[in-house]
Structures are given as structure tokens and as C-alpha cells.
């Protein structure tokens, strides 16, 4: 039996199909199905249990400075209650994880990391802390915190019914501590997400999670708000080209190769891995992530080989599926730099058969008005 979130009983009640995900019992889908849940988020709103995500508190006068050493993005530029997304690298430039950095009150930073990486990340953070910032305190609070993601164009309107706090004041990648939702005081409400839509991530004490979950679903009934599982979470993030650790990101690729250059600030005085990334940037990348559109019927899955037009194996698919929103079969994968131009013809080996594909612009999906 895997670990259970405080919303486990709610998933059973809603007939969620439970699967193992990084040691957690999580719903992959509910009876509505992945495509219906995906569409609910694109068109209305959907509710996700993301309590399995890891949270690490950093405390101390140099907490922000420590976070800035850990990650490639520029933490010093953050204002209080502002958030950034960043890759976190090993000294060799390989990716430990991707995460969110919340700059909270002075002397307090919150890191939100991937569920399957929480233990590994915390060990790494502790190792760096002991070596470089022994005056900072790091605390893994993952087991004490529940998290609900409420995503979609109707999310703000529905959530506003449950709080007197004006949610418009929480801007994209900003956080508000202590907002009361349905009578329960949330630890934090941030305008962030992993779907490519507008929406919120709500951090709660474990004992408040079920009440708030039920209240949002009830409030969203007129809009057809659905509970959504990990399947829709994956298809939504994939269309928006938000990378997934273990697929687009891992210790064997640098953030430059994984197309996260925008979140890598090589002009910073220092961060772990900067020397390797600077050298890579100067010498030129050997390979990079690209978006692919399949020109024939088929689905390019994680691990399928990418072939040159001549049929030589040159790369590998990291994620792929038929896009529910675009109606096309699309994929992400690593190829040598010579093959990264938009319009480049390639092939994907699907069960031994070379399926025609073309390099296309990413993200595949971007919400209008953004």
C-alpha cells in the first residue's frame, strides 16, 4: 500500500481509479475520463489533489541567498510574496528537479518540489546547506501540508464565492498567505499551476483539505467543475510544454538542453552548476528538446527512438500523446542541434515502423490572452 493524501477517501467516494505514483496512491482519472477532465480544465475548471508534492521551508537571515545558490533562476529579484519557477542543478549541470521558490516574510522561503523527488531533493538541499549555509534551517514539511490545484478559466470566479479576499489581487506567480477559503484558513493561495490555464494552488493544513475540496466542487457545480486525476494533469502540462521530471528533465540533461534557458540566469554571480552551464552555452549545445508533430497516424510514446530522415537513430521521445485540444499527435524529444530547426523532417520509430514527423514550435498550446 502506498502513501495516502488527506483526500484519499474523497477519491474513493468519487470513484477515482487509484494507481501508484512515486509511492503514492493517487487517482489517474475519475469516471468522466481523461479527455473530459482535460476539456473541463481548458474550458471551465478542474480540481486536482496535489498533496503529494513536497514542501521544504527555509528559515534564516540568509534563506533567500541559499535558495539563490540552489537554483538557476534569480531569487534575489523576487519581492515578498512573489514566486519563481526554476530548475535546480547538480554541480555537473544535470537537473536535480524543477521547483517553485516562494519568497515569503523576511527570513522565510518555501520550496515546492516534485512528489517523487522529495526525499532526494531534501537530501541534496541538506547536503548543500551543511556545506555552504549551515546558519539556514531547512525543514521538510511535506507530510504536514495538503495541496489542491484549482485550474481553468472559471477557477477565479468559482473560488471567489468561497472567500472574502479579492482574488484579483493575487497576480500570476504571486502568493497570499492566510486567505480564508470556505471558512478554513489556507496556509497560502498562489496563482500558479501545471496546466497552461489560469488558476490557483491552495496550500492547506491536512485537516482542512477535505472540507475545502468538497466546498470547491460544490461551488463549481453550475460551471461543471470536475475532479481531475493525474492523467489529465499530464496531458494538460504536456500540451503547454511544461516539462515533467523523469521525462523532459533528469540528471543526464542540463536545463539548457531541456529548453529552460529562460529560467537559467547565467549572469548571476553564482549558483550550483553555473560553471558547466556557462561552458555549455559558450561551446554550443550538443542536443536539445524539440516539439514534434506526427504526420501519419500513430502515437509517439516516452522512450521511442527518433530517426533522421535517412532512418538513423538520433534521439528519443520524452513525452507524446494525441493532443485533446489540438487534435494532433504530438511529442517532445531530444535530438542533436542539427535537427532542431522548425520544419525539420524527422521520423519516430513506432513499434519498428518509421512514422513521419516534423519539428514544430513549442508550446503546442498557449491560452489566449496570455
Amino acid at each position: 500500500m502506498g502513501k495516502r493524501t488527506p483526500l484519499y477517501e474523497e477519491h474513493l467516494k468519487a470513484e477515482g481509479r487509484m494507481v501508484d505514483f512515486g509511492g503514492w496512491d493517487m487517482p489517474v482519472q475519475y469516471p468522466a475520463g481523461i479527455v473530459a477532465e482535460h476539456e473541463a480544465v481548458r474550458q471551465r475548471a478542474g480540481l486536482f489533489d496535489v498533496s503529494h508534492m513536497g514542501e521544504v521551508d527555509l528559515f534564516g537571515a540568509r534563506a533567500l541567498e541559499f535558495a539563490d545558490e540552489l537554483v538557476a533562476n534569480d531569487c534575489q529579484a523576487l519581492q515578498q510574496n512573489q514566486i519563481l519557477y526554476s530548475p535546480m542543478c547538480y554541480e555537473d549541470g544535470g537537473i536535480v528537479d524543477d521547483l517553485l521558490v516562494y519568497r515569503l516574510e523576511p527570513g522565510h522561503v518555501l520550496l515546492v518540489v516534485n512528489a517523487a523527488n522529495t526525499d532526494k531533493d531534501f537530501a541534496w538541499i541538506e547536503e548543500r546547506r551543511r556545506k555552504l549555509f549551515p546558519d539556514v534551517e531547512a525543514k521538510n514539511i511535506s507530510s504536514e501540508v495538503a495541496e489542491i490545484a484549482f485550474q481553468g478559466p472559471k477557477a477565479q470566479e468559482v473560488l471567489q464565492r468561497l472567500t472574502s479576499f479579492d482574488l484579483k489581487k493575487i497576480l500570476f506567480f504571486w502568493v497570499q498567505p492566510g486567505v480564508e477559503i470556505a471558512g478554513r484558513k489556507a496556509l497560502y493561495v498562489s496563482r500558479t499551476g501545471y496546466t497552461g490555464e489560469d488558476g490557483f494552488e491552495i496550500y492547506l493544513r491536512n485537516e482542512d483539505a477535505r472540507h475545502v475540496w468538497q466546498a470547491i466542487l460544490e461551488a463549481g457545480k453550475p460551471e461543471g467543475v470536475l475532479p481531475c486525476g493525474l492523467g489529465a494533469r499530464d496531458s494538460l502540462r504536456f500540451e503547454a510544454c511544461l516539462p515533467l521530471y523523469g521525462q523532459e528533465l533528469d540528471k543526464d540533461h542540463t536545463p539548457l538542453q531541456s529548453k529552460l534557458k529562460y529560467w537559467v540566469h547565467l549572469e548571476k554571480p553564482h549558483f550550483t552548476g553555473i560553471e558547466v552551464l556557462k561552458r555549455e552555452q559558450e561551446e554550443g549545445l550538443k542536443r536539445r528538446l524539440v516539439g514534434l508533430e506526427l504526420k501519419e497516424r500513430g502515437v509517439a510514446r516516452h522512450g521511442y527512438p527518433i530517426l533522421s530522415p535517412e532512418g538513423e537513430e538520433i534521439g528519443v521521445v520524452t513525452s507524446g500523446m494525441p493532443s485533446p485540444t489540438l487534435g494532433k499527435s504530438i511529442a517532445l524529444g531530444f535530438v542533436p542541434m542539427a535537427y532542431t530547426q522548425v520544419g525539420q523532417a524527422l521520423k519516430v520509430s513506432v513499434r519498428g515502423k518509421g512514422i513521419a514527423a516534423e519539428v514544430v514550435k513549442t508550446p503546442f498550446y498557449r491560452r489566449s490572452g496570455k
Binding site: 470513484e15 481509479r17 489517474v28 482519472q29 475520463g33 481523461i34 479527455v35 492523467g231 499530464d234 496531458s235 497516424r297 500513430g298 502515437v299 510514446r301 500523446m321 494525441p322 485533446p324 499527435s329 513499434r351
Partner: protein, 128 residues
């Protein structure tokens, strides 16, 4: 889950509707439910000879890829071309419009070895 009495089943969740020397086959209601939204069906060439239990097609959902195994050995007589444009028929009507291939029944004893509905029912586990 529906498990029609007149059909024969495999342990891999295919069904066969024997009709004389041939039969249509597809995947069961349970199988389509487990796979979720089906987005792609790969069909075999008509005329291909397959052995019982040989993979003759592929059904893909948003999340997974699953082989379809021949319920009996014989020649592929027809394939359901409608699934090329409408793979969701497998979800909507697994025993009807969602049929996948029509296959020759070369050896009647292979049909006899398949499961009847009563024997297949208990294999539908792991759902909700």
C-alpha cells in the same frame, strides 16, 4: 461491465463472436474501461495469417498502449476501417461498432478452449 452470454473470451480481455467459419473480435467492455479514452487503433493487414494469441493490433489510450491478441488462429478476413477515424467507437460500443477484426476460424477446437461469460466474469478485477 457487460459480458454478453453469446460471446467467447480470452484471458487477455478480447472477445470473439463465432459465426460459422469466421468471427468478429474486439476488446471487452472491461478492457476499454480500464484503458480509458481510446485515441488510436492499429489494424492488421487483411489476409495476414495469425496464430491464436499472436498480437494482431494495438489499441492506444491517452495514457497507454495495449496489444490486441488473436482470439483464434486463422486469416484476417476484414478490419474495421471505421476505427481509423473513430477509435472512440471501441469505448462507446465495444461489442458492436467497436469490433476490430473479422478472423477466420481455422480450428474449431480453439473456440472451444476460449472462456464463456461465466468464466470470464471473475477475471474483471482491478476496476473500481
Amino acid at each position: 461491465m457487460r459480458t454478453p452470454e453469446e460471446l467467447r473470451y480470452t484471458e487477455d480481455h478480447e472477445w470473439l463472436r463465432p459465426a460459422g467459419k469466421s468471427g468478429r473480435m474486439g476488446i471487452t467492455d472491461f478492457a476499454q474501461d480500464q484503458l480509458g479514452d481510446i485515441v488510436f487503433v492499429e489494424l492488421p493487414e487483411v489476409g495476414r495469417q495469425v496464430k491464436q494469441g499472436e498480437a494482431l493490433g494495438v489499441v492506444e489510450s491517452v495514457k497507454s498502449v495495449s496489444d490486441v491478441f488473436a482470439a483464434v488462429g486463422g486469416k484476417v478476413l476484414a478490419v474495421n476501417q471505421e476505427l481509423v477515424e473513430k477509435p472512440e467507437l471501441v469505448n462507446q460500443d465495444p461489442y458492436g461498432q467497436g469490433w476490430i477484426v473479422e478472423i477466420e476460424i481455422a480450428d474449431e477446437s480453439e473456440v472451444a478452449a476460449l472462456l464463456d461469460a461465466a468464466k470470464y466474469e471473475p477475471l474483471q478485477e482491478g476496476g473500481h
